[in-house]
Structure formats: structure tokens, C-alpha cells
Amino acid sequence: MKQQPTLRGSLKAYLYLLPLLTALGLFTFYPMVKTLLMSLYTRYDFLTDHVSQIGWANFQFIWHDPDFHLALKNTVVFALWVVPLATILAMGCALLLARNPWFNRLLRTIYFLPFVTSTVAISLVWNWLFQTDYGLINAMRVWLGQTRIAWLSDPHYAMVALISLVLWKSLGVNILVMLVGISRIDQRLYQVAILDEASPHQRFWHLTLPLLKPTIALVILMTTIASFKLFNEVFVLFQGSPGPGKSTLTVVFYLYDKFYVAYQYGIAAAASVVLFVILLTLTALQWWVRQGAWHD
């Protein structure tokens, strides 16, 4: 028996919703509109809040700015590496863990730990690990007979360092999501497959993989979106700089730099609009894939 909305009931409901709507209105909807507007401010005095000119110049600037191109390129390269690696690693670990629930519970505390650690603290530790002279990683290289690599000051290797850090940190969450997906697969299907004398190889490729597709897609999109928002790790790993020779300049770092350092609010706003469009597209993809998952 569903009640019909009444005026009195509605007023009461809106009272319940008031705090949320105030917060959302002030700090989400209003800023959203403001960003869109600010991206068009070509001359803006922050101190007097006076807009002298508006136009598309900010977007034109970004379009031609080699730094922005670099930021985009770096972010995309980063995503192209991290997403497949993270997904495959997580899937592999999850499949192994799914077989031994006892083992899984034991390790879960450990592999999930990076999720709760402060990104700053962890990035500092990895900064320390990648030190050219005192770092553990180079020590292991030397022990294996290889040369030292200047991870944090060589533009060629900085990205590798960053990718390693991010993979390590995100593994736990991705494994968890994968495990949930695996647990949804009906075990009886496997029993039937075994009865039909399917090899483990066949069971994986024809049973597990197709049934895990929605979960895999979910992890892929979660990781992709997170890759595009990368900032904290870059900032701390490279101590405030966008990597040696700007090799790890990401889109969000570009945004931060233009906004907090260069005080070019209009340009920063325009960059964030571009970022938003990219993320919107990716998120729309995510919802669309989820719809597909429900149909399964």
C-alpha cells in the first residue's frame, strides 16, 4: 500500500533532505556551474572578484599548450599501462585466492592494507625505495648484477616508478572486487564442466573468463577513471614536481599547477572542464557496462 505524496508529507521530507541539499547545492552544484563559467573568464582578478573579459581564449590556450598535451599524453600512457596490469594481476590473485577461502581470509588483512594507508605516507616510502643510492630496489638490482637506475630523476624511468606504486596500492581493492565477481559464478557449472571432462585450461577460457566479463569490465573502468584523476602519488613521490622533465605530469597536476601555483584560474577551470568531459564519457561507459551486467 503506497501512500500518495501530500503537501505536508513533502514539506516534512524536504526538511529531512535540507542538510544534504544545502551541502550539495553549495559545494557541488554551485561550484559545477561556477567552473563552467570560470573556464570562460579570460581576465579575472581573484582579489576583487572582477571579471574583465570572457571568451573561449582559455580553451584555445589549452588546445595549443604543449604542457597540456604532455599532461594528456602522460595520463593516457599511464592509464594504458596500469589498467591492463592492474586488472590481470588482480584477476590472477583473486582466482588463486578463491580456491582457498581459508588462505584468503588469512591474507586479506594484508593485501587490503594498502587501501587504508595514507597515500602520502606510502608515496614517501616508495620514494625511499626508489632512491638511486640508498634505495632497496637498486640494492636488489646490484645484488642481481644489474646497474643502478635513477628512478626518480631519469625521465625514462620515473613513469615506471609511479606505475609500480599505483599498482601496489590498488591491488587489494581490485582483488576484492574480482573475488565478489568470482563468488557470483555458480559452482555447479564447474561441476558439470568437470563431468564433461573439460581441462582446467578449458574451464578457465570458456567458463570463468566469459562469466567474469562484467567484473573485469568494472575493474577496468574503475582503474581507468582513477588513473585520470592521479595527483597525490605524483605530488609526493616526486616531492611537488611533476616528475623529472615533467615526465609524470598528469592532467590533474596541470590543473593544480595552473590554479594554485600560477593563479591562472580561467585556464585551470577550462582544464577541469576538459577533464570532466573525459571522465563523463568514461563513467557513461561504466554505467552502460553495468546495465549489461544486470542482464546476465
Binding site: 616510502v125 625511499w128 597525490n232 590543473l255 577551470a269
Partner: protein, 253 residues
């Protein structure tokens, strides 16, 4: 997996000399427990810790109150414009926090909230995700229970407080934990919203400490260890709720 963390710990216990050996020394000769004390006193970490605690506490409590009220309204109350409003709120999930950074900064500056607790605590309250989780939880309670309460003469608020809340407690814990972790580890917003040492939170403080500590890695590692401890404690005690809650969101939309 835990190698980086172990390495952090052993480095924290080394002397400055041992830490800067190439090739690196694996284990310190004598465990320098005083490194923790030195690191803690080298920067106003007590202040940073207090700020992080305060901010995390305020944001989490406020978040729980706001989200519970809103979730209950969406789950159990009938009102005009319900569906439209819900969809509108859903769209906020699409907006990346990074995009809101600049205008929120402008807003708090104009309100003179820059470098204050208000500026740190209030903007992160705009979060619809918790509302979604709680709404699901409220909806999973059978209607019969609510109706029974109503037959006993309970109004909406009473229903929420006496019936709804106790039954959604696991979700409340999950939401609380997620929020505590998010607030504690937040870096970009506190970085942007504060300037003085007085209002810095732990992550930002830790980062600024690196500039002062220079090559004293043993101190840096000690500070990092200390920074992680509170949250690890929270994690260990609330692990079950956290993982259950996250599993559920991974599944549903």
C-alpha cells in the same frame, strides 16, 4: 606485498648513518626507538594529528547524520519531486572532486573560511555515495516492520530512530569507516584549503615535513609509520564491516 611497509619500519629504526648506506643495510644494529620521538618533535605533528582527528570526527559524524536523514527520506517518505531530485543527486556522483576544487576554494576564500576548520570540514560533506548505501539499507528492511511501528503510533522520526537506525547499524558502521578513511587520507583538499601549520592535517603535514627533513630518511620513515598507525588500528577493528560494505557496492549500481 608488505615488503614496502616492512622496509619502512626497519628504516625508521636505523641511525642516520645506517639509513644512508649504499648498498643499504637491511637491519639496524641497535633499534633506534628514539627516532620516533625525534621525528614527532621535529614538526608540529601533535597539531597535525589533532587536526586530522578533529576533521575526521566532525566530517564523519555530520556525514552520518546528513546521509541518514536524506537516505530515510528517499527510502521511506513520499514527496513531490522525489524521482527528479534523486536523479539530480545521482548526477553529483559523476562530478570529479578535482573539478570542484577551484570554485570551492574561491567560495571558502570569499566566505573567509580559508585556513579554518570550517573550510576543511564543510565542503567534503557534499557526498551522495553514503546516502545511496544507507538508502539501500533502509529499503532492505521489510515494510511490515515499519507498519508495525506505525500501528503502535510512531511518527516518521520515531520510526527512523527506533526502528530504522538499529537495523541498519552495519551499514552505518561501513559508511562511518569509509568516511573516516577518506577524511584521514585526504590530501588535495586540505592542501588547497589551508596554509598555516596550525590547520594542517596529517598527510599535508607529513609532506611538508619532507622538505625540512631533507635526507634524514630514518626520520621520514618514522614519521610515515606514525602517520599510518591510527588508521591501521581503525582498519583492524572495523575490517569486517569495511570489506562487507565494499563488496556490496562492487556488485550493485
Amino acid at each position: 606485498m608488505v615488503l614496502p611497509l616492512l622496509w619502512m619500519l626497519t628504516t625508521a629504526l636505523k641511525t642516520s648513518f645506517e639509513a644512508q648506506q649504499a648498498p643499504p643495510v637491511l637491519f639496524p644494529h641497535h633499534w633506534q626507538w628514539q627516532n620516533f620521538k625525534t621525528a614527532w618533535q621535529a614538526a608540529p605533528f601533535t597539531r597535525y594529528l589533532w587536526n586530522s582527528l578533529l576533521v575526521a570526527f566532525l566530517v564523519t559524524i555530520s556525514q552520518l547524520v546528513i546521509s541518514t536523514l536524506a537516505a530515510y527520506a528517499f527510502a521511506r517518505l513520499q514527496f513531490y519531486g522525489k524521482r527528479v531530485l534523486f536523479i539530480l543527486c545521482l548526477t553529483t556522483l559523476l562530478i570529479p572532486g578535482e573539478m570542484l576544487l577551484i570554485p570551492n576554494f574561491v567560495t571558502i576564500t570569499q566566505l573567509h573560511w580559508f585556513d579554518t576548520y570550517r573550510g576543511l570540514v564543510l565542503p567534503p560533506l557534499a557526498n551522495f555515495f553514503s546516502v545511496l548505501l544507507l538508502k539501500q539499507a533502509f529499503e532492505s528492511i521489510p515494510t511490515a516492520i515499519y507498519q508495525a511501528a506505525r500501528l503502535d503510533g510512531a511518527g516518521d522520526l520515531r520510526c527512523l530512530l527506533s526502528v530504522g537506525l538499529p537495523l541498519v547499524r552495519p551499514t552505518l558502521v561501513t559508511v562511518g569507516l569509509l568516511q573516516i578513511i577518506a577524511s584521514w587520507n585526504a590530501f588535495m583538499w586540505p592542501l588547497v584549503a589551508t596554509n598555516s601549520e596550525q590547520y594542517r592535517t596529517l598527510p599535508v603535514g607529513l609532506q611538508s615535513f619532507t622538505a625540512e627533513a631533507g635526507t634524514q630518511y630514518q626520520l621520514l620513515m618514522a614519521a610515515s609509520t606514525l602517520a599510518m598507525i591510527p588508521l591501521i588500528l581503525v582498519y583492524l577493528s572495523g575490517q569486517r564491516y569495511l570489506i562487507q560494505g565494499l563488496s556490496r557496492t562492487g556488485l550493485k549500481g
